[in-house]
Subunit: 161 residues, 4 copies
């Protein structure tokens, strides 16, 4: 399968590694209820204005962790981001997600909302099918007119530091 | 404030009622944590092919119900839809949401996902600001490339009746 | 099947009605993923110090509403409480839940947390199996040492009105 | 502050390390909405019947990651467990949680439910206050009569492998 034409600033090597890590993350899923394993991977942006090429890139993976109480479970993308944020990352160059589907699976709305707190509207989201076929869009395309921190923080009486 | 030019099939009277119910639903919010009351209203589609004009329309409202454990809370749109679905409604002509914001607040990603299970991509979503100013888009515009029942049901080994 | 010996202040007629409404609420579930319908019913407490016997009791039902994105779904108990709260109820005399299980199904932890925001520790929770067999415990027994509003509100800098 | 008398099988050194990691995990929280940082730490059980003392213990930490859409956020305990499970851990010797509270903060119901999928009823849960004061109970005490995998898996027609 061919990589997308537009890698949104990633190098071919970064894309290849992101793809490999995302596909293999599926095997860490705990999904006895849906039997629908999903893998995810975030590429953390280098801190500040450091050149990406000069900086060792950090890849943080995740997979879905389901629960007998379905609403209590956590999707792959949110597992990856919760890991990344509590590891100190606050900016990201790309998100990728993979499922054993015929056409590339997209993040659910809850995950789009969760990553939107930290990720820019122009961050690419790479979506893989079971053969490794890929479609890429930006987060802004997946969650237009989004609800975010600006709506809540800095309001009168809503100061939060 | 002017209604949107495109009412997406609603009559002016239906739009006016939807707006009024959505704005007043805000007052039923329980939001001691965010102090951000949100109101929502669904207009249930008449069953089958009955003409909308001939059928008494059903409006189902909701508001946000927060919790000391923030992730346990429920947004206004999901309250309205959970009510509607357990009242037997399965098709909807419109969703509306209102918040005390300067510009119309949009549904969070989790709510877009929740309503997507039942609502068509061309269903209008009317969003109101604190003055009653309105913006309207379709659900498909708010949640493009969505993840839905088709991806899970009817899979090999995923039969669910 | 026999009612529990301790009805926790409900009259036999109230218990019978609560049971009937809870069992029949199961039929309103939307659960194509789990095929595990759950029904729930809240008995709203009469406002203020009005005697229960003198006041018409209000029963609010709910059922589970699942989603292709499993974590986005809502359980029966939370559907019922979100309805009740946005209808203006703030105090409850009983919660009941029913599932098609051999032994009475209990609320998941997320639902225990959600109802704890409004319900007293000594509120009874009636749990029914598929034959209508019943076990009753209090909310405090289901969620001991709970995390609640007291921990968050009224803190220094956490004023919320 | 004194450690609890009953360490539930942990060595004093393991408890000391668990405490230190849990308290310092708080500093990784992203909580601009609640301003209520929570830290959590899981002690993974050594695989199989290996003696704990002989095996290097694995500690996995987490913190709360909030979202402008409050219900979309993830608590500290769930962050830690989602990390641990997707790292391959399936059994745990202890969970610990810490908050800047006067009395030790307990896990919310949603987190009790999430960890119950993997953790035994007799697993200890250590809860710390802002001074490091500690209370310990078992998971079974925090979530009695719990709803778990047994209720869903292995049902007739509910086979999931
Ligand atoms: Zn998701
Ligand atoms: Zn929402
Ligand atoms: Zn539940
Ligand atoms: Zn929690």
């Amino acid at each position: 399968t061919e990589p997308p034409q537009n890698l949104h600033g990633l190098s071919p090597a970064q894309f290849a590694l992101l793809k490999q890590k995302t596909l293999s993350a599926k095997s860490h899923a705990y999904c006895p209820y849906s039997r629908f394993p999903v893998g995810a991977c975030l590429l953390a942006a280098p801190p500040q204005a450091t050149a990406a090429a000069a900086e060792p890139a950090t890849y943080i993976t995740g997979a879905n962790v389901e629960n007998a109480s379905y609403p209590t479970g956590i999707c792959a993308e949110r597992t990856a981001l919760a890991k990344a944020v509590t590891d100190g990352h606050r900016a990201f160059a790309a998100l990728a997600v993979a499922a054993d589907t015929e056409t590339p699976a997209s993040p659910c709305g809850m995950c789009r909302q969760f990553v939107r707190e930290f990720c820019a509207a122009d961050m690419p989201v790479f979506m893989f099918d079971r053969e490794g076929g890929c479609v890429v869009v930006t987060l802004g395309e997946l969650l237009p007119m989004s609800f975010g921190p600006e709506q809540l923080l800095g309001r009168e009486g809503g100061e939060r530091a």
